[in-house]
């Protein structure tokens, strides 16, 4: 199962590992098609052109495979969807819980991936 977005989807934990191994800068929004998640996907879709050096992906929160994000140490204490992860060279450089505006996302991208 995947999310109904125009983003590329991470479906399995293996794909997640491969994505991080092969890309320097990765942002993954792990959520559902709910009101706090959808605006984040929309912002990511619009930021793709502006940040060609970043892979913008999503992952279905309720998939058992999404345990790679749900159970990440950086997500301990997270109690708001979506869980959004930012990876550089395979390492988590930032993780956020709940809705973020396009401006807040840009700030994180500029700080970590520029």
């Amino acid at each position: 199962m995947t999310l109904m977005t125009n983003l590329e989807h991470v479906i399995t934990a293996d794909q997640h590992a491969e994505l991080l191994a092969n890309n320097e800068n990765v942002m993954i929004c792990c959520g559902r098609m709910g009101p706090m998640c959808v605006p984040v996907y929309a912002a990511m879709e619009e930021l793709r052109e502006e940040y060609p050096n970043v892979k913008f992906m999503d992952m279905l929160f309720d998939s058992p495979e999404a345990g790679v994000i749900r159970n990440a140490p950086e997500c301990v204490g997270f109690m708001g969807l979506p869980f959004t992860m930012y990876y550089k060279n395979g390492k988590v450089v930032k993780a956020t819980s709940s809705i973020q505006s396009k401006e807040q996302i840009k700030e994180i991208l500029d700080e970590n991936f520029s």
């Binding site: 009101p35 605006p39 619009e46 708001g80 396009k102």
Partner: protein
């Protein structure tokens, strides 16, 4: 890019999109500029069940349908943009977006509102870590836990009842000694055995390490304070109008809302307001749609004068 329009609509919620549908269908060249995702507060509604003609639909789907409908008539929509300047004073109105300046003969202000925050100590730190503004999104994280719902209107009461599906207990904290919600919503909350009430009380601080662990409550009658261990807090205390960028442009009331007449006209010729940003009592999708249609027709009459 062609930057001159007949009407510019600021805001792409129910009111703005409705105005866009009416204007574009009347062959009026229309631009909708929206700083966030199109749909406004509708997108935050899990299920809409009181919009006439549609039995049940997700807010997201309803917003997308309205957007598609407006675009099908030729309306131009830009979302997730940042408006850097607005000038409504002259005969030609202008809106600055980055390097581009858009002009129009008339402007409809439909910037809507956003969830109000408590603005107390610790609130920003625990967003998504114990503080939520969306029960349908985050309710299941609180299965078997003790939570607080802040507010006394319909949203707070209805979401408190919905959250009892997951939570062990729900305490409604409200600053007054009575609720503002409809009677049926109050009754449903009072009948629910999992719901407790703390009236005349406000939250004045959120505390914890990695996630929310406790809140400080203030009794507004005797001014005493105490801390209460809690797993989560859902905040539903209404909306605040998005008029920060309009302060020097148009008359606002003490709540920051835009007063209009029955034709949705503001005090500035050629400037109309519609939806939640307008001074009015009832804020529903149906009333926003009403405002948007009236504002559009009034704008058409104005530009054809």
């Amino acid at each position: 890019m062609e930057n001159n329009y007949d009407v510019i609509i600021l805001g792409g919620g129910a009111a703005g999109l409705t105005a866009g549908i009416y204007l574009s269908r009347a062959k009026v060249k229309t631009l909708i500029l929206n700083e966030g995702m199109v749909g406004g507060q509708i997108v935050l509604t899990h299920e809409v069940a009181n919009y006439p003609g549609i039995e049940k639909i997700s807010g997201y789907q309803l917003a997308l349908t309205m957007k598609k409908q407006a675009e099908s008539f030729g309306c131009t929509i830009q979302q997730n943009i940042r408006i850097s300047g607005i000038d409504l004073s002259g005969e030609t109105k202008s809106v600055q977006v980055g390097d581009a300046t858009y002009t129009a003969k008339a402007v409809i202000l439909a910037t809507g509102g956003r969830s109000r925050e408590l603005n107390v100590e610790g609130e920003a730190n625990f967003k998504g870590r114990g503080i939520s503004y969306c029960a349908t999104c985050d309710g299941d994280f609180y299965t078997g836990k003790d939570i607080i719902v802040v507010g006394g209107g319909n949203s707070a009461l209805e979401e408190a009842v919905a959250l009892t599906t997951y939570a062990k207990s729900v305490t409604i904290v409200h600053i007054f000694d009575h609720f503002q919600g409809f009677e049926h919503a109050i009754e449903a909350a009072k009948k629910n055995p999992k719901i407790k009430f703390l009236l005349n009380t406000s939250i004045v601080g959120f505390y914890g390490e990695n996630q929310l662990e406790r809140v400080k409550l203030k009794n507004l009658q005797d001014q005493s304070s105490r801390e209460l261990p809690i797993d989560g807090v859902f905040i539903f205390i209404g909306y605040t109008p998005n008029t920060e960028k309009l302060k020097k442009q148009v008359l606002l009331n003490k709540n920051g809302e835009i007063p209009t007449d029955n034709s949705m006209a503001t005090t500035i010729p050629g400037v109309f307001a519609a939806g939640d940003v307008r001074e009015k009592k009832i804020r529903q999708i149906a009333t926003a749609v009403n405002d948007g249609a009236i504002a559009a027709i009034s704008a058409i009459e104005y530009i054809q004068k």
